[in-house]
């Protein structure tokens, strides 16, 4: 690490005492690089095994890495906390302008502790930190961000992270929204904000950074920029974006439909990436310092019901995961309907994936008579019925009844109470991502440190497995290798969409320019250490290998790789357990 690099500075904020201070920790950034590596180390330091996720003691940690601000597509921030949704490791990544803003403000990490007496928001302008009253903003949906944006100065670059009503009401899967269109989506960071009476966080800053060799730096930068803009490897993100996967995955039976009850959805072609682009794509947007611009905004034109010739156009970001969770999973085959559901989920500030899976579970539970109109307060959830889903989403946030409070804690909690475990699609209490592609995906969710498809991209392993035979050992090996390598990328912090460009060789070259003299074996070791550290935290917080199982439903419906065999899955699970235990 370069001596003068401000990366080593950690900003601590105490919301209870309204105090802040900076600690320099070059040791952490030397050892764990930044991002996820430093965040897990800070979580270990600041969160004990018995910390209640809803208590003031639960820290919110944001961390960036040495490549943020230096190289393109190093555009992400890592958030860590104890998850109110799972009671275990909470980790979520987001871009927008956050990573560059934190780096430009002169920090490598921000740790927020305590609880404000009244609703407040924090405003960080370089070295200055302000605690601002947010009582007036409490309860507001998307307009809170707009109000903060116009009131705050912002020399240089700035990010605004905020929560919606879901976070304030402590729905366990509330998200944090950045710059209107990006999210710390999964595992309930918004809930932790809410539990601290923290409505928003603004960070702004402007500075220059150092590199070890400016000429080399410029060369590598140009090469990377060219690769990211022109390489075939990036094409999928440039054009239709991730929704390009809807059709291929529906052909291969990999996109989950109606809570994984069927492989067939009549009219799925109406919610393809192609249709979204043709009918709705209104604008493309990028995270700061990323040339790819994968963020696709749909323009949805809505008439006013009470006033003829009045329309409003709302812009909504969509991607594959949303089309899955708020579309195919619910049997919705109209792109307009999906956008309308996205709009409510955005307004409420919920994690879209968990919300979709909760709605799907509710629909099936209702069909099976496990719950009735008594619980739903007269709403009849049924596949494809947008209006019912919109109402339920609002009730998840605003509902007063026991049932709505229960489903506001997710599928795992609801199914433990009402029954319906067999079709509760959760992994480590986190709801299922959109790939029913085979062993790679499902075992990956189960063992991934954050139970996300992004941990090890199991669907990519499954894609390979469609044409090649893999043994259980090989699948496990691939999952472990991928997840460990991703610890490096998310410590730097590079967006996973750039992973094919940032090969180990490129990573080493760019790290050298940031003052890190490492070789590939050092990198692999750091990757392993970070991974093991996460697992140590998980186990300490109650993660139990012996109770790990895939949801029953997964075995009942053929995947892209055919029927999932229970014995084979068990074998993978057994091998993984041993391998991970060996690392600890």
């Amino acid at each position: 690490m370069i001596k003068t690099d401000p990366l080593k500075r950690i900003l601590y904020i105490d919301l209870t005492k309204k105090k802040f201070w900076v600690e320099e920790r070059p040791d952490l950034f030397e050892k764990f690089l930044g991002g996820t590596g430093v965040a897990i180390a800070l979580l270990q330091e600041n969160c004990s095994s018995d910390t209640d996720p809803f208590s003031p003691e639960n820290p919110i940690i944001f961390a960036v890495g040495p490549l943020n601000g230096l190289f393109p597509i190093a555009s992400k921030t890592v958030a860590m906390f104890k998850s109110p949704h799972t009671g275990n490791l909470g980790e979520s990544h987001a871009g927008g302008r956050s990573a560059i803003a934190i780096r430009m403000a002169g920090y490598g990490a921000i740790v927020i502790k305590g609880k404000s007496e009244r609703p407040c928001y924090i405003s960080i302008h370089g070295d200055k930190v302000f605690f601002r009253d947010a009582t007036t903003l409490w309860g507001l949906e998307e307009s809170a961000g707009r109000i903060i944006r116009t009131r705050e100065p912002g020399a240089g670059l700035r990010t605004i992270m905020r929560i919606g009503p879901a976070g304030e009401k402590l729905v366990s899967f509330a998200c944090v929204t950045l710059e209107t269109y990006r999210h710390f989506g999964r595992l309930g960071l918004g809930t932790v904000f809410g539990s601290k009476n923290l409505k928003a966080l603004l960070v702004s800053g402007k500075r220059d950074l150092s590199v070890t060799d400016f000429k080399e730096y410029k060369n590598l930068y140009s090469l990377l920029l060219r690769e990211l803009s022109e390489s075939e490897k990036m094409k999928k993100y440039h054009e239709l974006g991730t929704p390009a996967n809807v059709l291929p995955l529906s052909f291969s039976k990999g996109i989950p439909i109606k809570n994984l009850r069927t492989n067939e959805l009549l009219g799925i072609e109406n919610i393809s990436g192609e249709v979204f682009a043709q009918k709705h794509l209104g604008r493309r947007v990028a995270c700061c310092h990323c040339p790819v611009a994968c963020i696709h905004l749909a323009a949805l034109r809505k008439p006013y019901e009470d006033e003829p010739y009045f329309y409003r156009t709302v812009y909504l970001s969509y991607d594959y995961e949303l089309i899955y969770a708020l579309g195919s999973m619910l049997g919705i085959t109209s792109s307009e309907d999906i956008l309308k559901l996205i709009e409510v989920v955005e307004d409420m500030g919920l994690d879209a994936i968990s919300t979709g899976v909760v709605l799907a579970w509710v629909t099936e539970a209702f069909e099976k008579g496990i719950i009735s109109e008594k619980q739903t307060e007269g709403i009849i959830p049924e596949w494809g019925n947008l209006n019912a889903y919109v109402e339920i989403v609002r009730k998840i946030v605003y509902g007063e009844s026991e049932f709505y409070k229960d489903i506001a804690r997710g599928v795992d909690h609801a199914s433990s109470k009402y029954g319906g475990k067999d079709f509760a699609l959760t992994y480590g209490k986190n709801e299922m991502p959109g790939y029913h592609t085979g062993y790679g995906a499902h075992i990956g969710y189960l063992f991934g440190a954050r139970h996300s498809h992004l941990d090890s991209a199991g669907y990519a392993i499954d894609k390979e497995a469609m044409t090649k035979h893999f043994t259980a050992e090989q699948i496990v090996e691939k999952i472990l290798n991928e997840e460990q390598w991703r610890q490096i990328l998310s410590s730097l912090v590079i967006c996973f969409f750039g992973r094919e460009i940032y090969t180990p060789e490129i990573v080493l070259k760019s790290l050298k320019l940031a003052g890190y003299e490492l070789d590939e074996s050092n990198l692999r070791k750091i990757a392993q250490d970070i991974y093991a550290e996460k697992y140590r935290f998980k186990i300490k917080s109650g993660f139990n290998f012996d109770s790990l199982n895939l949801p029953r439903r997964v075995f009942e419906l053929p995947s892209s790789n055919g029927q999932i065999n229970e014995d084979f899955a068990r074998r993978c699970i057994e091998i993984l357990k041993i391998k991970i235990r060996d690392l600890l």
């Binding site: 601000g69 230096l70 393109p72 560059i100 430009m104 707009r146 944006r149 020399a155 240089g156 670059l157 710059e179 209107t180 269109y181 402007k206 500075r207 220059d208 950074l209 150092s210 590199v211 400016f214 730096y217 410029k218 930068y221 920029l225 803009s229 209104g282 604008r283 493309r284 947007v285 990028a286 995270c287 700061c288 310092h289 990323c290 040339p291 611009a293 905004l297 812009y315």
Partner: protein, 131 residues
Amino acid sequence: MPVYVKDSEKCVGCLICIFACGRAHQAVGLESSCIKVRSQGGISRGFSVWVCRGCEDPPCARACPEDALLVRKNGGVLLNESKCTGCGYCIKACVLDAIGWNSLTNKPVICIQCGECAKNCPYKVMEFKRK
């Protein structure tokens, strides 16, 4: 006019141009760049790009009380750092807001008419023409 904004509607707000401008000023980051990209009141409304158009009779130079800004032959200005006192009058004079401010040196960041911003923009929002 060396760099001109062809179509800011196409701008995705990646800020690659700002970093390119920083490198053109021999720096890594945002402090030493003069081009600006701003959202038009919310990202859904898109962005606008503010960049020096290399005036032939530059008001920034006229506003400078120290004669620190020299008018270039083909338009635009050159900064004579030793004369500049950091008063900031040039910034106020430029209606395009195309001058940056380095708060460490307390001096303006002046466009050097290099075209790096246009050349780096992945979406060809700007065009660079050498006169």
